[in-house]
Symmetry: C2
Subunit: 330 residues, 2 copies
DNA sequence: CTGAAAGCGCTTACAG
DNA sequence: CTGAAAGCGCTTACAG
């Protein structure tokens, strides 16, 4: 491979200064239309590509963003994070940024700190927010542009999310409207903000309908298969007419348990999920769920972050739409 | 945030040259023990961290590697890629490298090309190899250090993989040894090298046992749930005594189909899988599978790649071990 | 509108 | 063993 052509080569070949070439490329600073065209044409022909590292050093910018991913997510959450990541990469590439991945385990953040110290990124996307989020706090302290996917305690943090609360309210309201009263809820890890949001939406719908919730029918932090089996069983004993699952992992386990116990859906009991991943995709009967465009979520997060990095105005909160899919299980 | 301290600051504070400070940190070049200690101590106390971008420019190195991930993998493969990626990130961080993600869709590679052009990486890990891999070819042409996870056509490519062929041979041999003869095989996408390798191992075991394979019992490219249901059904009709599944997605679908049809495992038919993900984790009865340490695979790939980048000698092929888990389904 | 020059913060022959 | 200086390839006040 022959030596890469540099801005100096271009300048010399064209008989102009490096400054001029730089301006033609960046579009910053005054420059004659003639000159600009000449330069742009030449770099097009010669396929000159500026060295991003040199640009980084001169501008103190890396054109990299980081995505923080939980190393300890369960298998059902994987498609979410992966799709988010995919969307973020696509949107970043569109603006000539790359994304580097940082895994965090619980509140441990040594990899994040390494990357921050090494100045390898211009901004960060956090893919999941938790209660008392020490990771968010760490980033905020560094003053690096930062976007959280999800809900945060700290109102100053820019965030992007699906409108889980409204979505879950709407699904629940639909169930209530269809005559159901004893609606049970099984939710996952309650330190995740998303769990809390979904729960709030559930509560909202009951409040609006002026019906009180039977606390006996609410189970949060129901992780692990055995636990879910037990919960499902006891909900039926307590006369639940419908079981709403906060995620598809839970839902698919509930459906399995019901099938094993020969309890038919929707005849004996209705089932719905607050999420719609490929886990439930081909389930028969089709499951009533909420549908969110996760790739779009990742794209939006990256796009908002880059706006932030480039000093544009961004909304503090961007809420993405959802779709309610009413199917056979309810 | 006050201005970051630079190598010049350190040099000045210590009354030495930048050269000396640089040498103390990098360990390259002669330097007095006294001086080195003094410098190291000072940067320890002041928490000086060299600017990686400047280092990059001076050395034409980025301390970034890229991991190529398929954007179109199915949900059952996700844990594999994610765990691989996690392992790679951990191993890279250990040596102060970061990893940036590139998604490719089929043979499309515009994101890869962008990253190559921008000189943002020192090397690449490809997470899955296919037949006639145009991505590999593209990278090889650029002359960038490159490690493939999996098997490649091109023998010059450095690769890291689990020993799928031996593993599948051993599992199959075990089944044969336990008296089974009509052993069926259901495999996935046959343009993936891993599918071919597993198939070869299956064949190896039959050859060794001097038993011929009934081609009627072999199904490759069996993707999609409906397809797998049909295949399962027809295999039973053809008198299969055991169904070996090449991956857990297939296996879990086969088990589901058998359950629906009230066919008991292992009484009526035996079942085994060439892979062991959390998909099958809590299945009852427990499934006979092969076990691979995927995180270790990612770690090894990153570690070999960085060796390659740093000019160390690496083995052309690194094959990682496996474990055969004989359980109740056979 | 254009350019010479300094600067970003490192590394590394070269000389001593 | 140590240092002055040039260089990596850009950007950006500043001057004209």
């Amino acid at each position: 491979m022959d030596r890469k052509i540099t801005i100096a080569d271009v300048a010399e070949a064209l008989g102009v200064s490096k400054t001029t070439v730089s301006r033609a490329i960046s579009g910053k600073g005054r420059i004659g239309e003639e000159t600009r065209k000449k330069v742009l044409e030449y770099i097009e022909v010669t396929d000159y590509k500026p060295n991003v590292i040199a640009k980084s050093l001169a501008q103190s910018k890396t054109y990299n963003i980081a995505m923080i991913l939980p190393a300890d997510c369960n298998i059902a959450e994987l498609p979410f994070f992966q799709t988010c990541m995919y969307g973020a990469c696509e949107a970043a590439a569109e603006r000539d940024y790359d994304v580097l991945t940082i895994y965090t385990l619980g509140n441990e953040s040594k990899n994040l700190e390494r990357v921050l110290i090494n100045n390898k990124i211009d901004g960060i996307i956090q893919s999941r927010t938790t209660v008392n989020d020490s990771i968010s706090a760490l980033i905020a302290k560094r003053g690096l542009p930062f976007v959280a996917i999800g809900t945060t305690d700290d109102p100053s943090i820019v965030r992007v999310d699906h409108d889980h609360r409204s979505a879950c309210r709407e699904l629940t309201a639909h169930l209530i409207a269809s005559g159901l009263r004893r609606i049970a809820l099984i939710g996952g890890n309650n330190t995740h903000m998303v769990t809390r949001n979904r729960y709030r939406g559930f509560v909202d719908a009951f409040k609006e309908a002026k019906i009180s919730i039977d606390p006996e029918l609410i189970y949060l932090n129901a992780e692990g298969n055995d636990n879910i089996d037990e919960v499902t069983h006891s909900l039926l004993v307590k006369g639940a007419e419908c079981i709403v699952c906060m995620d598809d992992m839970i839902c698919s386990r509930v459906l399995q348990k019901l099938r094993r116990d020969r309890i038919t859906v929707p005849d004996h009991v209705k089932v719905a999920s607050f999420y719609n991943s490929s886990l439930l995709e081909s389930h028969i009967p089709a499951v009533t769920t909420l549908e969110f465009d996760v790739k779009q979520l990742g794209e939006t997060a990256a796009s908002v972050l880059i706006d932030l990095i480039e000093g544009k105005d961004v909304k503090q909160t961007t809420l993405l739409p959802y779709h309610l899919k009413i199917k056979e299980t309810t």
